[in-house]
Amino acid sequence: MEATATDPGTPGTTGRTVVELTDVSMAFGTVRVLQGVSLTVTEGSVLALIGANGAGKSTLIKILSGVYPDHGGEIFVDGQQISVDTPRVARALGIHTVHQKIADGVVPGLSVAENLVFDELTQPSFGASFSMRKIMPRARQVAAQLDLEWSDDVLRKDVFELGIADQQMLLLARALDQKPRLLVLDEPTSALSGAEVERLFAVIRRLKAAGVAILYVSHHLSEIDSLADQLVVLRDGRIRLQQAKPFGWNDALRAMLGEQAIVAERTHEEQRGTIDRLRLTGIRLFPEKPPQDVTFRAGEVAGIIGLLGAGKSELSRGIFGATPFTEGSMELDDRAYAPRSPSDAVRRGVYLVPEDRAAEALLPGWTIARTAALPFLWNLAPRGFVPRGTEATRGRWVIDQLDVVATGEQHRVDELSGGNQQRVVVGRWLAGKPRVLVLDEPFRGVDIGARAGIGRRLRELAAGGCAVVITSSDVDEILEGSDRVLVLTDGKIRMDSYLTDTNRDQIIERMSEIA
């Protein structure tokens, strides 16, 4: 790529140091989130950064991208000490970041083309006049950075009409167009499906060959295994392990998790439910797709595996009445069940832990106690007045049930780590004696400790007679805690089997089947 035409080194070799951090630290108030972090990123190599939630990964990225100028320690770029005070300085130094939250990057209401050339659009050199015709050639050029074959029609669309994966690609193309020296990718695959991940990887390999330094943050060990040259493991704000390829994953996981279990139990005893709890008949997840029948049974955990856009959320939200099914019918305990809203579902004991925790489950500023009590206030306060202490009691109950790590039930949920937030929003439904509990991608952005804890609790819940349904795009997450595996692709259930009757290879084979 011309991006590094000036690069004197041989592409692909571990070349010169681009960015070096020495003894970098950061604190929020009295909480130290990074301590003594030193690392170097070299030309043409991928440095992978892993760590549980709250390990300090995001903070490190923000320091590199100029969001937190008040950090301790030093940053050297090309051997010169530099203070990265603002995002603009970071960009001028050639440090470009593609953040995990796509919504932070794209500008809604503007066209795809405008988003592609946004960095120039905001500069005085762009001039006063604006027309689509003026920007189209540049937009095509930027899109070409990633071989995005977008027609002019697509370029003229509002950016929100693109899928989330294409929005991600757009942001990446924009970063590439800036000819980055260091490209920071924060969980770049979290919104992508398998094929799109492959596309991204191809791009990363090309960049690497062209001499760009890449800092790659991910939860997915397999991605790192195939991409990275160096691995840094963060835990509680400190570097616990640094490795060069080939990586020892056992050591890496140990370093990441501390003294906890290495991999969550996969040797659980399979439970097969005998009573049909929720029967779905002729449900259509997408208008064009064939109707589906599926039954969820009391006493087992059903795991639905599907990539992004397979219909997991459509299924979950339909069962919960959040987005009612347009076709088909449901029966709950042999009685008709047709929720028009979540409140209908809750009354029947059908609960959902939604996919997007921040947008769909958390209430800014709310304490654990209040968040925990909200779904069952009608029960806790039958006559309207909320008796003093009721919410606190419920909050403590949830903390106790799911081992939430917090200072107490008055701790604000939005100040907890992702894993503990998830424990709270799962735990609050347990108070309502769930008949069906659906969890849509419950382990996304959740550390392995919380994942194991929640998983264990879900198994107990199923053993107690609840029908538990988990969805995930991660095969291992499903294998880890389910009794039954369903593979969902393109709105269609391709496989429905008990865990002991199948294996990982078979599942992946089914997932890769087309049409």
């Binding site: 929020f28 937190y68 959040a322 409140s343 959902l352 769909e360 958390l362 209430l363 806790l380 309207g384």
Partner: protein, 349 residues
């Protein structure tokens, strides 16, 4: 990282003075200003110290506070009600029409006014909940609508006793004594409007913070989708909030009508801005950064002290708006600039 807003690394355990001052201001700023103003005017103006002045100041504050409590309730569900001034103005005219033109007794007038408040509240809710128009825009439209309807009812004229009617006769009725008691009457030593003010504050406070309905309303304001997915019937509570707002605005209108003693068509004109101002001031009381009943009432009292004090001190009436503007801006600085908490009241447009 799931951590609060970034602050500089703490080097020493001691909290610096500036930080303590900031916290103190955010928490007690509005209360301190209110007490400061009260002391200042009490010392500076002999007239201000008289009990009658204090009571008339509270009567002035009561109308704003009651309408403000309605705005606050709408703000709690993440909305806002711009129609409260319109509703109060219409209430004045409806009360006057009932008694003066249709020769009805006081309680009929009161009933008619309250019903009108409920109806307008339902109209707001219908536009917002069913037709999905943003709160601020829907209630802006309704504000114009009710103000216009009011003028239409009375052909743009104020209603007063003995006025000529279109059919050539004169208006038969007048404001009844029991209706006039609403503003002029006392219960013990306390003027009726002040009593209504106090009762409304306590009811709305208890409703919002001590009942599940109030708690649910706050949840809708915090994150409507999260509330819905927790099983809350959000539509029902948003409707309820606007009906409450409509009723409170109508009550404020009743007091105004009783005070003016005729169907003045310009009544209630300044009430909208005043009631929104005190609700905003209220959000910054005790560093809550949330709409709340006590804050709104305190804001109204503060406004009452200011206006009464300035009037006694001889400041021209047109200085009042300048002062109100400063007060609102100071309160917003407390909530948005000085507070470490994110100000959570964001008007829904």
């Amino acid at each position: 990282m799931d951590v609060p807003k970034a602050v500089a690394p703490v080097k020493a355990p001691a909290i610096p003075i500036s930080e303590r001052l900031r916290t103190w201001l955010v928490t007690y700023g509005v209360i301190a200003i209110t007490i400061g103003l009260l002391l200042f005017f009490s010392v500076a103006e002999e007239t201000f110290r008289r009990p009658t002045t204090i009571l008339s100041m509270l009567k002035y504050a009561s109308v704003i506070a009651i309408a403000g409590l309605g705005v606050t309730t709408a703000m709690v569900v993440g909305g806002i009600d711009l129609s409260v001034g319109g509703i109060a103005g219409m209430a004045v005219t409806i009360a006057a029409m009932s008694m003066v033109i249709y020769n009805q007794v006081g309680w009929i007038a009161i009933l008619a006014v309250l019903v009108s408040g409920v109806v307008v509240g339902l109209v707001n809710a219908f536009l917002i909940v069913k037709l999905r128009i943003p709160d601020m825009l829907a209630t802006l439209g309704v504000m114009f609508l009710v103000s216009g309807l009011k003028l239409l009812f009375v052909s743009g004229r104020s209603v007063s006793s003995g006025m000529p009617l279109p059919d050539g006769t004169t208006a038969p009725g007048r404001f009844t004594a029991d209706f006039l008691w609403i503003d002029n009457g006392f219960v013990g030593p306390i003027p009726v409007p002040v009593l209504v003010f106090a009762v409304a504050t306590i009811i709305i406070w208890a409703f919002l913070t001590r009942t599940r309905w109030g708690r649910i309303m706050y949840s809708i304001g915090a994150n409507p989708e999260a509330a819905r997915l927790a099983g809350v019937n959000t539509a029902r509570y948003r409707i309820l909030a606007y009906v409450i707002s409509g009723i409170l605005a109508a009550v404020a209108g009743l007091i105004l009508a009783s005070r003016i003693g005729q169907g003045d068509i310009s009544a209630g004109n300044s009430l909208l801005l005043d009631s929104i101002a005190v609700s905003l001031v209220g959000t910054s009381v005790m560093g809550l950064n949330l709409p709340n009943a006590w804050g709104t009432s305190l804001g109204a009292v503060m406004l009452g002290i200011l206006i009464t004090g300035l009037t006694i001190a001889g400041a021209p009436y047109y200085a009042q708006d300048v002062v109100k503007g400063v007060v609102v801006i100071v309160a917003l600085i407390l909530s948005y600039t000085l507070s470490r908490k994110k100000a959570r009241y964001v008007p829904a447009v």
